[in-house]
Symmetry: C2
DNA sequence: CGTATTATTGATCGCGCTCAAGACCTGTGG
DNA sequence: CCACAGGTCTTGAGCGCGATCAATAATACG
């Protein structure tokens, strides 16, 4: 994983690791220059709250490195993760000035931030930016709907396997056998899956004992047979 | 509820009941004319499948009257509703030609359809159309995230109360006490909530016996105290 | 080292599912 | 009018999955 601390302000967009995936992906160089003029990087530490549920959100941002989560809560403290943001993903909502959910850094992370107002103006002026944001929003919506199927109908074992599949797809360093570092604590996994920490832990143990996965320490994850994991997850094998 | 059968082809957009809410809401008259040139109405009967999961979807549409649902399924038949479309809501996904979920009419419904290709071209040419679709997609995403909190963390009683709140907000005929017709069968409610039919039925009975709601027949619903219902749902009272 | 945090494992409980029966509602035909 | 069928909804009895409560183990950090 790249570390930008210190030299971040100097990084230009052409060298950005998420140049081709983020909201700016389809901007041509002149458009990119407009965005670059209003951007600023911000490093946040694991656990840091970036925006409060119901609080002001006067910027939007792309996740450059690391991992952030969106969570919603009930008054009595029950919480549910409603978004998992990986590098390239977009935070914030143009046209609204308060956050409907809490945004938290799951790991140390770097954000590429834009003040909301100037970004909204650019959104009106740059068709490729608007088109890309629409495309990303529709992808998010599809992902949210898959997630709803998971929350509503899958068993605990299927839920855990599904999350591991998602992580392997998005965070696996290429290599054989496929390997990844879990960006989430057990608590965050439980929040994602609508389960308790204990149940997540038990299912991880069960998948390990059944030979579906191998764990290295608390975060390391290897899976020799992604097809078997997908089957446990009740997903199409189209990994 | 309005019935358009027969005279549908003649209805012009200016008289459309969803003119100010649908994807066309922010189009000026000249833009509207472009849309009007490619639209066609389609009436579907309750229960009719509009698009198959994984099947071709060569059109997009607005729901004019009635109610449609989006559902995703696991291979063994478990299904979860992932979208509930009321008048004004948008069906389909520009830029993708297969449906990632099944689209079904929950009640008799009227759709205002646009062939996908021509609609995509208009999307590129009409900024107000694109802006409105982006806004609607972001609203859908927020709604999906609320729904995820419901699926992951709410009890059966809270889930049922939440659904009744949503219906009262969106479908209640103004009047005191607030009254609405449920557009969903018990089966559809269960699919929405990630519950079984039996549990939905039991919770409806419990809410009735506790005086929170009054049922007229199988579909009629009256609620004298929306605040009490919101409290049962674990929602903010901002109805 | 000691302390705090995070993860695992065990024992028990209870909510919502399953299986089953019966009630109600609607339409059809005699 | 009733008889019957097919569907939808309600109600009951019992069970099992995942939650809860509790203790222990592993890891991180001063």
């Amino acid at each position: 994983m790249l570390h930008y601390d210190g030299q971040l302000a100097k990084t230009d967009c052409a060298a950005c690791p998420i140049r081709h995936r983020a909201v700016c992906a389809s901007c041509a160089p002149p458009e990119l220059a407009r965005l670059e003029a209003i951007k600023s990087y911000r490093t946040v530490r694991a656990g840091e709250i970036v925006a409060m549920e119901g609080g002001a959100l006067d910027f939007v941002a792309s996740v450059v490195t690391g991992c952030a989560t969106l969570t919603r809560s009930l008054e009595d403290g029950r919480t549910q993760m409603v978004g998992l943001l990986m590098p390239g993903d977009f935070v914030g909502r143009p046209g609204r000035d308060t956050a409907p959910y809490e945004v938290t850094a799951a790991t140390d992370a770097v954000l590429c931030r834009f003040a909301r107002r100037p970004f909204e103006r650019l959104l009106e002026e740059l068709p490729s930016l608007r088109a890309r944001l629409l495309e990303m929003s529709l992808d998010e919506l599809d992902a949210a709907r898959d997630w709803m199927l998971l929350l509503g109908r899958k068993t605990a074992r299927e839920k855990v396997a599904s999350l591991l599949m998602i992580v392997m797809r998005r965070a696996a360093h290429g290599g054989s056998p496929p390997r990844a570092e879990l960006p989430l604590t057990r608590e965050a996994m439980a929040s994602y899956l609508g389960l308790t920490i204990e149940t997540v832990s038990r299912q991880m143990t069960a998948l390990r004992k059944d030979g579906v996965i191998v764990l290295q320490g608390q975060r390391g994850l290897t899976c020799r047979d992604l097809g078997a994991l997908a089957a446990e997850a009740g997903m199409d094998e189209a990994a």
